[in-house]
Symmetry: none
Subunit: 212 residues, 4 copies
Amino acid sequence: MAKTEVSVTTTRTEPRSARGIRTRNALIAAARVVFERDGYLDARLADISAEAGVASGSFYTYFEGKEEIFQAVAEQVTEEMVHPHLRARTGVTDPRELIDLANREYLRAYRENAKLMGLFEQVAQVDEDFRKVRIERANAFVRRNAKMIRDLQDRGLADTELDPLLTAHALSGMVSRMAYVAFVQKAPMPFERLVATLNRIWVNALGLTAGG
Amino acid sequence: MAKTEVSVTTTRTEPRSARGIRTRNALIAAARVVFERDGYLDARLADISAEAGVASGSFYTYFEGKEEIFQAVAEQVTEEMVHPHLRARTGVTDPRELIDLANREYLRAYRENAKLMGLFEQVAQVDEDFRKVRIERANAFVRRNAKMIRDLQDRGLADTELDPLLTAHALSGMVSRMAYVAFVQKAPMPFERLVATLNRIWVNALGLTAGG
Amino acid sequence: MAKTEVSVTTTRTEPRSARGIRTRNALIAAARVVFERDGYLDARLADISAEAGVASGSFYTYFEGKEEIFQAVAEQVTEEMVHPHLRARTGVTDPRELIDLANREYLRAYRENAKLMGLFEQVAQVDEDFRKVRIERANAFVRRNAKMIRDLQDRGLADTELDPLLTAHALSGMVSRMAYVAFVQKAPMPFERLVATLNRIWVNALGLTAGG
Amino acid sequence: MAKTEVSVTTTRTEPRSARGIRTRNALIAAARVVFERDGYLDARLADISAEAGVASGSFYTYFEGKEEIFQAVAEQVTEEMVHPHLRARTGVTDPRELIDLANREYLRAYRENAKLMGLFEQVAQVDEDFRKVRIERANAFVRRNAKMIRDLQDRGLADTELDPLLTAHALSGMVSRMAYVAFVQKAPMPFERLVATLNRIWVNALGLTAGG
DNA sequence: TATGAATGAGTGTTCATTCAT
DNA sequence: GATGAATGAACACTCATTCAT
C-alpha cells in the first residue's frame, strides 16, 4: 500500500543505488547461465535468483517475469554481437568482397553465440513480444540489404529481374537458417566451405559474376 | 520428465475394435483443432478429450501424452501433403521448369497448411523427438536435391564451383524459410512474385541461365 | 438392469461351466504371480487379467476386487501348506520331540512360501477383512497350543506359574516372527540353528527340562 | 515411483526463519493427527496441509512427500519414547529385575503410543526406506541384548546351549509382537499378567531360575 | 461368458507471484 | 532494497469399474 511510485515501469527497470545495479546485473548474468543450461521453457525464476545469489523475491524488484529478463539478456548479447559496422570502416567497396565480409562476420558471431542464438529461435516460437521485436529487427536488416541490391541493379551490376526486397529477404534468411543448422543443430559443415558456398550463391543469384 | 520407458505391457496406439478406431480418429481430429487454436504449449489434454467428446481418461487408451498425439496429427497431415512425387509423373525434364514446379507446389501446400506448419516449427523448438524426426526428413529431402544438382553439374549445366550438398541445404532452407515468413508470419508477399523470385534465385545460383 | 441373479455372492464365486472354472483358476494363478512380483499395493487388476490371458472385464465375473482375489489366492496357498496334522499321525508323544516337529515343519513351510507369507503380512496391514481372518486363525492355533500347555502343567511337566494362553501366544508369535525375519527379511540364520534355538527356548520356557 | 534423486538445489527440511520453523512443526503435528486418524495409505497431503492451516503448496517447502514427513513424525515420536536408558541409571543389577524393568518400560511406552506403533508396522510394510531404518534399529537393540546374554552365560548364570544372538532376536521379537497384539490389535490382556508372563518366559528361557 | 473400450473421480506436484518482516 | 515463506491455481495421469457388443 502507500507506495510512492512515480512510474511502474521505471521502478522495475532502473535501480537507483549501486547495490541495486549490482543485483540487477547479477540477475541478468545468472539468467543467461540458466537459460543456456535449461532452455527458456524449463528455466525457473527461482533458479535464476538462486544462481544470482539473491532471494527469490528479489527478482521482481527488477523484472516482471521471465520474458522481461530474457529481453534484458537478449539486449545485452545483441550489443556484444554488434561491434560490426566494420563494413563501413573497412573501406571495402567491391560487392563480392563485401558479401564475403558480411557473411563471414555474421557466421562467426553466430557460431560464437550459438547457444544464445538457438535460444532466441526457441523463445521467438513461444513469446509473442520477443518474436515481434525479432521480426522487426530482421526486417530492418533486410531493408538495408534490399537497398544495396537496388543500388547494384541501378549501377547495372545486378540482375534487374530480381525483386530487391524479396531477394534480400530470401538470401538473408538463407544465411541465418544455415547458421542455425550448422551451429545450433550442429550439422557438420566446415566453416570455410560454408562461407564459400553462401558467398557463391549470393554472387550467382545477384548475377554479380560479370562484375570482375 | 522425458522418461524413455519402453512400454512393455501397454498396447497403446492400436485399437482392436471399430469403435476404438473411431475414438482414436476423433482424438486426432480434436487434437488438430485444439493445437491450431491454442498452440502446442497451451493445449491441454483435457481440452482435446472434451473436443473429441470422450472422457479425459480415454485419451490415454491411445496416446501416451501430448507429444505422441502431436506426432499422430503430424503424420496424418504429412500424408495429406505428400500427393507430390508428381514431378516425376509430369514428364517435365527442363531443370528450370522443374524448379518452378517444385517451388510452386511446396509453397502452395505450405500455404494451405500454414497453421500446422507454424505449429511444426514451434514443436520442433520444444520437443526433442519431434525435432529429430523433422531434421532427418529434411536431410533426406536435401540429399535428393543435392543429387539433382550434382547431375546438372556433371551434364555441364550447373556451376561446378558449388558444393552440391551445402547448396541444396541452403536453397531448400531458403524456400522453406520464406514459406514460413510469408504464410505463418504473414509478411505480405504476393504468391506469384514470391515464386518468381525464388525460382530466379535458384536458377541464377545454380548458373542454369545458359540452359536456354 | 433386469438381471436374473439369485445371489450376488454366488454369482461372483461359483462358475457354472467348465470354461468358467478354467478362467477363474487362471485368474487366481495369475494373481499369485502378479502379487508375488509387484506386491499387493502395486498389483493392478488389469495386470492380473492380462497375465491370465483374459480381458480386463472378465475379472469381475469372478471377483469383486483385489481383496477378494487375494483371499482366493490365500486360501489356495493355505490349503497347500496344511498337509500337516502330521503331528497326530506321527504318533510322537514326547513334548520336546513334538515341539521340534512342529517348529521344524512350520519353518520349513514358511520358508517354502516366503514370498506369499510376506505378502500376507503386508495385506494384513492394509486390508481389514484379511486381517480379521488372519487373527482368528492365529487365535485358534494359539488356543490349541494353550490347551497343550495346560495339559503339560496338569501332568506336572510344565511350569505352572505360566499363563497358558499368554504363553502360547508369546511362544507362537515368537516363532512366526522369527520365520518372518529369517525368510522374508532374509536375515542370515542357518536353518538348523534357528530350529534348535527356538526349540530350546520353548523347552526352557515351559520348564520341560526335567522331562528327560 | 520411489525415485532416488539427489536434491541438489532444494534446501528442503531446514527452515531459515522462526516462522518457517513454526510452519514445519505445524505440519509435523498435523501429519501425526492425520496419520493416526486415516492411516498411512489413506492420508492425503492436502489434508495434512489443511490440518496444519497452511496452503497445500507449503507442504513442499519442507517435505518431499508422504514418506519424508512420516519419517519426521517417526523421529519425533522416537525421541519422545527414548527417555529411557534409565535402566543403567536405576542401578539395578539383578538380571531378573532388569528384565522386568525393561519389559515393563517397553510395554508401557508401546501402550502409550499404540496408534503410532501400529502405524510404524503398517508403513514398514509399505515403504522400503522406512523398513530399512526400522530393521537396522531393531538389530542394534538385539545386538545389545545378545551381549547381555553372552555375559550371563560367561558368568555361569544362563543356559550356555543358547545362541546369544538368535535368542536375543527371538525373545525381543516375542515381546514386541506381544505388544503389538495387545495394544494395537487390542487382544484383551491384563497389563500385569502380560508383563509377568513375558518376564517368566525370559527368565525360564535363559535358565536364570538358579539365580535366586 | 468374454471382450475391451469408455469412464471420471481423485491427488500429487510445480512454480510464478505476493508480501510481511 | 532484500528476504524467503506462503500461496493456490492448474493439470497430467492412473486405474477400478461398468457395460454395450
